[in-house]
Amino acid sequence: MGACVGKNSHLKHGKHEPYLPVPVKHRNYNNNNTNHMIAKFRESQTDRTLPKIYRLSYLSRQDFDPRSFDFTDELCQHILGYLSLEDRLRLECVCIQWQRLIFNGVQELHYPLPRGLCPAVQGMADKQWLWVSRQVLRKCHELTKINLVPTADTDVLSVLAKHCHRLEEIEWRFDNLRPVRREVLSKLCDECADSLTKVRIKELCEREFNSESGLSILIVYSEYLSNVTHVSVALDSDKCLKYFQLFADIYSERIAELELQLKFSSEYCLVGDTFAYVSLFRRLRALHLTLESVSNGQTLDVELSAGAQLLATQCPLLTRVTIELRDNIRVTGDQPVLASLSSLTNLQALEVRIRTDGIELGTLDALKPMVKLHQLSLTYGALTDWHTRDIADSCAQLSRLTLKTGQRLSDETLYSVSRLPRLKDFRLYCQPYVTQDIGDAGVCHMVANCHRLQHMALECGVKCSEVTFLALIGWANKRKHLSHRFSFSWERPDECNTSRDPNARLPAHELWPDLLRLPQNLTVVCREYFVGKCGTGMATAIERYRRLFKWSAPVANGVVVGADQLDSRCINRESVRSVGHTNPQTPPVYYKFARYPDVVPQPL
């Protein structure tokens, strides 16, 4: 009893205002033992680090104004790291310290610099702009990533060789008619030998492949480039494939990640050999393959299953595969794509993008042998509710799932997906500006059944109401220590459309006041489709999505609103509604509701 009282009084005593620190009166502490410990701890601390000074004001209080920006180099560089490139250029001459440090925070650049950097450069000639870009490049000593957009020339490579010695990633293009001076190239490779790990080569495919091209440079400088583990290259002729074989022989033990763009044509049709050479990389962990046939109208048969079997036996470490099938590619055998990949049983992540008509994805049953598969991404124009029906039985380990389709989906998909117990991240992309049969029921089902779900994006028209938001709030409150994110698009039902004036429409947070009361760990991004108000925005959104699948004609089975139909529908609605609007070009409204929503958010 007594102990109980004592405990309570202690609690009462220890209570104080949560956010306002209260000064405590100094007392005499008599605990010798712990004082000794603290003293000992301090000693051990001073051994390692000398007391640090972060502001010069403290060196001599008299001479310095405490309101002056007088940080030491380390902290100054950190603070200036949040500036944009334009600000860095303009503020270079503030003082000597800034001049020395201001460009050190730049880690990633394109060459030439983006033209939008400053309005004054719009009219500048290309040659002059390249010169200016090189001048900027010289100052960025800590650059780690560079993308050389025009073909690499001696000028820019010598700047890099001289000033940027910490490069980790280079993306470059070579033109064999304008060879680069070898001594510059070898100096660059030598200076960056320790840091360089990633090389991406974009060939100019129409030129003849010879010893001046990017792949042969990798072969020639293989001694220097011993730390390179990630290579990206495009192949377009049989001659090029010969170089690739040589490259594979030299680098077979080094490369962990390989990106290949295969452009088949009448000059390049050795599909089987290509797979054989890829399988030479014994330590390959990730493979990214893009297959396409560039010769006009001729389809090319690819024996995908044989290639997959070869990779499965030769590359035991291979766990991540991305396969993109583009124009005029046909998979031989009667097997659909997923079935022909089923021999890759070690996979942990698989991405399949089918961007051409006439290839079948097949059922997800084929993924059953991949017991470790935890990440799956499918881009397939004809993906329907039916495909995902048995997803929980075929790939029970999935933690990330991305689906992109041109079809109309319903809550059924969400019901099937919600049976995945480990799902953490789910993204669904359907045709923009088409409201799907997805609503409260599906979202609530997902939230209630997937205990690990943290990120859900429904990038398609969703019919949801306050029920969804209440479910989301409950979802985030269940696990307060994890951040949650939900994004979706919606189209205003007609009953909400009281006014034709877009400015008088109720914004989302007035329709659903719950959006302003979200818990700290929940972010909701909601994007409204304004049909008729944003003609341009809609056309580009649809066009961009169409390019994903290269839709040429409406998909056959009638479930879909075909692309052509879709366009005419949008145009009609636009022309009907835009009459009364003064500004028909307004982009769609994008709101982000996030932590501390104590103010009405601004449209993004």
Binding site: G14, H16, P18, Y19, L20, P21, V22, P23, V24, H26, Y29, N31, T34, N35, M37, I38, F41, P51, K52, Y54, R55, Y58, D65, P66, R67, S68, F71, L75, H78, I79, L80, L83, S84, E86, D87, R90, L91, E92, C93, V94, C95, W98, A120, Q122, M124, Q135, K424, D425, R452, Q454, R479, K480, H481, L482, S483, R485, Q520, A594, R595, Y596
Partner: protein, 189 residues
């Protein structure tokens, strides 16, 4: 089974953190002021966290305050810092798995942080940044840095010098040379 286990673990962890924050420890500024702060909140500072871990929680709670000896930790700065960690200690951790979380560098400050850091006294602002850097509170240093950068965005060199009270230590020739080199960015059309 395993699923449930880490699920519960996480919740437990959260409760422990909340309970630990009821325990108050004392921090002493370089000017001698002593302030109370929740234990979990104070542990947002890596300096304090290391100290607490090597001394043991009990020792820290019952004994004399932790002395923050750096000159930048003035009374006013320490009060500000405690206010910040007491608000932020239960923030959800950054999940590096998600791509959009990686891009926090470019993210705007939250409304609360903006109001918090927008102080009139520039000496205090700089003290808070330097003190947060000394105490190794990465989130707060970032808030301060972003605030300064947002204030000098789009300003000219002279305006920045006046605002941040920086003396121009270039000679006229040196400054001209830099101006000439970057002339294109100042050019009007």
């Amino acid at each position: 089974m395993a699923d449930n286990a880490d699920h519960i673990d996480g919740d437990d962890n959260e409760d422990v953190r909340a309970q630990q924050n009821l325990i108050k420890i004392k921090l002493k500024s370089s000017e001698g002021g002593i302030y109370e702060c929740g234990l979990t909140a104070a542990k947002m500072s890596d300096l304090v966290k290391n100290m607490v871990e090597s001394l043991g929680t009990d020792a820290v709670v019952t004994t004399e305050p932790i002395i923050l000896g750096n000159e930048a930790v003035t009374d006013a700065a320490l009060k500000k810092i405690i206010e910040w960690v007491e608000f932020h200690w239960d923030d959800p951790p950054v999940d590096h798995d998600f791509e959009d979380e990686k891009d926090r560098r470019n993210e705007e400050l939250s409304h609360w942080d903006k109001q918090f850091i927008d102080v009139d006294d520039q000496a205090l602002l700089f003290d808070v940044i330097a003190a947060a850097n000394y105490m190794d509170i990465k989130g707060l240093v970032e808030v301060g840095a972003k605030h300064i950068c947002s204030k000098i965005r789009g300003k000219s060199c002279q305006e920045v010098r006046e605002m941040l009270k920086i003396t121009n230590d270039f000679t006229a020739e040196e400054e001209d040379a830099i101006h000439k080199e970057n002339a294109w960015i100042y050019a009007k059309d």
